[in-house]
Symmetry: C2
Subunit: 336 residues, 2 copies
DNA sequence: CTGAAAGCGCTAACAA
DNA sequence: TTGTTAGCGCTTTCAG
């Protein structure tokens, strides 16, 4: 049993295929009478246009990709929900493209996207900063918009945030509380935001005349496990810091768990500050002081940019998003 | 600047399009010499096969959908990661299809899937139990596999779990600890698992001769907020239960937060037991006692079933997955 | 207002 | 081993 095609309907309704096409695409120049007859025969024959054939001839798959590298599930979830929010009530569908290591696979990524026939993609960090990927995408004619790009800003539109200032405020918060024995858990160094956040922290420390001890700077990977691991080392060390600055909330949660395992009270003995305002930062106890990144809204905006390019050329302007320090229960003055 | 097509390559390499096609599809009957020449001209012309044209003629889009209704983000995340895990190193791509209300939109869902040209779909509850959707899917020739179906088991393959027994064990755990003043927060009644879990609870209560007070049975929606809301009512009521059984972990987390807001110690004053072993159940404090559902593995298995049907007909056998009671820090004997 | 013919870019079937 | 012919199911001319 073959699927019914447009010709079946045309034959049955006694019209040409073009007329059926017109009816299904709400084009003018068809009498209401014919329109009705076509609709009815289509219904009777259980006809549904073959979207692949449409896609081929229209050169549009109506597929939009979301490219991400997965260190932090909560970040990805918000991103994805944002994209889906914008795609709701649109003809476009979301194809999820997880990439194990953008840095290593930059050569393959665009092939991956091409083989999915994507009309456009939303690029999360660190793909958003990868020069090679941006070039290849442009060459392949795949529209894109970026989440929080920090480099190659002229390469295409994106949703910007001021990671440096946001990080500075997070560090300043701890300094204001009186902390001086501060430790830092950095994120994946291949993510530009990690570099930016480090710079922001450093600006705050420099302005306050505080110098971090080298052994108090730990390298994480934006994952909870890496945060846990780093925190273990920090908390088991000879003299424990009074505060930990983690470059995202997942690592902050890892640090919180490490403290809990050791019976170290947060925030009384150690303050913890995260970054992002991920879902997880709100369900732990104590809830984690963090800097809100409007990830959801940024994803909505980026998707909007992709659609705009697809529909009407679209401008390539960036959009700037605000951050906000959220002081919660995981930070307090250092123990006296 | 047009995209290069297979004919461009054929002309340039002095062969027929079919030969180029053979080369790109690794078919036999092409001399190595020709093969090489074709590869080189393709490279020089920057040729990439148009996957939409391939899809049209092969009647295969290589797109697999994941259909879900979103009450619990942590559940969806695990599901999606499972699907992606199985799709890794496959030609298939994942299209995410969130559905606001399966019950209300059952008529539209298959149209939605058809318009995405999906080869197959993984159906999460409650779509997995929707008779109409299963029928339409079969009629449309879209392969599917289901996550934890509870009804229409003969309609197609799925990954089964024994929700009733799992729920019984969760309830039994509280009874064994000595609890008698137990409250229940139910999940969305349109999900069959909610009904099954209720039955499991009831079996345990009946066997122990315990009768729940009607006002201690609250209706939730599987969301954290709904769990929070229900717990507020339970904890503010005249006489507080000594234990709360929530039908998933998100609602359990909501209950935990409600207890915390009121300064009620968990588990000393109130025990809380969840369901699913979601990520969130492990990062709260206390960690939540729950019943592990191997959601990730089930998603892998379901995806496997879809691919099997697509590749080689595939059997339509169900696969059974085990559950496991995980006793953690949120449950203890009732206060004396 | 309607339809015939010519593709979109590819592969299947068959012939050479 | 290679090429020719005919589609896949739709839309786009452009003529009527």
């Amino acid at each position: 049993m073959r699927r019914t095609t447009i010709s079946d309907v045309a034959r049955e309704a006694g019209v040409s295929t073009k007329t059926v096409s017109r009816v299904f695409n709400d084009e003018p120049n068809v009498t209401d009478q014919v329109r009705k007859r076509v609709r009815e025969t289509a219904e009777a024959l259980n006809y549904h246009p073959n979207v692949l054939a449409q896609a081929l001839v229209r050169r549009r798959s109506h597929l939009i990709g979301l490219v991400y590298e997965n260190p932090s599930p909560s970040y990805v979830v918000e991103l994805q929900m944002g994209v889906l929010e914008r795609l709701k009530n649109e003809r476009y569908r979301l194809v999820v493209i997880p990439v194990s290591s953008v840095a290593e696979r930059e050569r393959e990524v665009v092939g991956l996207l091409r083989s999915a026939a994507l009309d456009g993609v939303v690029l999360a960090p660190p793909a958003a900063d990868n020069t090679r990927i941006l070039q290849d995408l442009t060459a392949a004619g795949i529209r894109f918009a970026r989440i929080a790009p920090m480099e190659n800003l002229e390469a295409g539109p994106g949703t910007l945030i001021d990671d440096v200032s946001a990080a500075r405020e997070a560090a300043q918060h701890l300094l204001d509380l009186g902390h001086r024995e501060i430790a830092v858990i950095r994120g994946d160094p291949t993510h530009a935001s990690s570099v930016a956040r480090t710079r922001g922290y450093d600006q705050a420390f420099a302005a306050a005349g505080v110098t971090l001890r080298p052994e108090r700077i730990k390298q994480g990977l934006f994952t909870r496990d890496s945060g846990h691991q780093a925190a273990c080392e920090l908390l088991d060390g000879a003299d424990r810091p009074t505060a930990i600055l983690a470059q995202n909330d997942d690592m902050a949660v890892g640090a919180l768990m490490a403290a809990r395992e050791r019976g170290i009270d947060v925030p009384a003995q150690v303050s913890i500050v995260g970054f992002d305002d991920s879902e997880v930062s709100r369900i732990t106890w104590p809830r984690i002081t963090t800097v809100r990144q409007p990830v959801f809204e940024m994803a909505v905006a980026a998707t909007d940019m992709v659609i705009a390019q697809l529909e009407d050329g679209g401008s390539s302007e960036h959009r700037k998003h605000p951050f906000q320090l959220l002081v919660r229960e995981s930070s307090s003055p250092p123990p006296t």
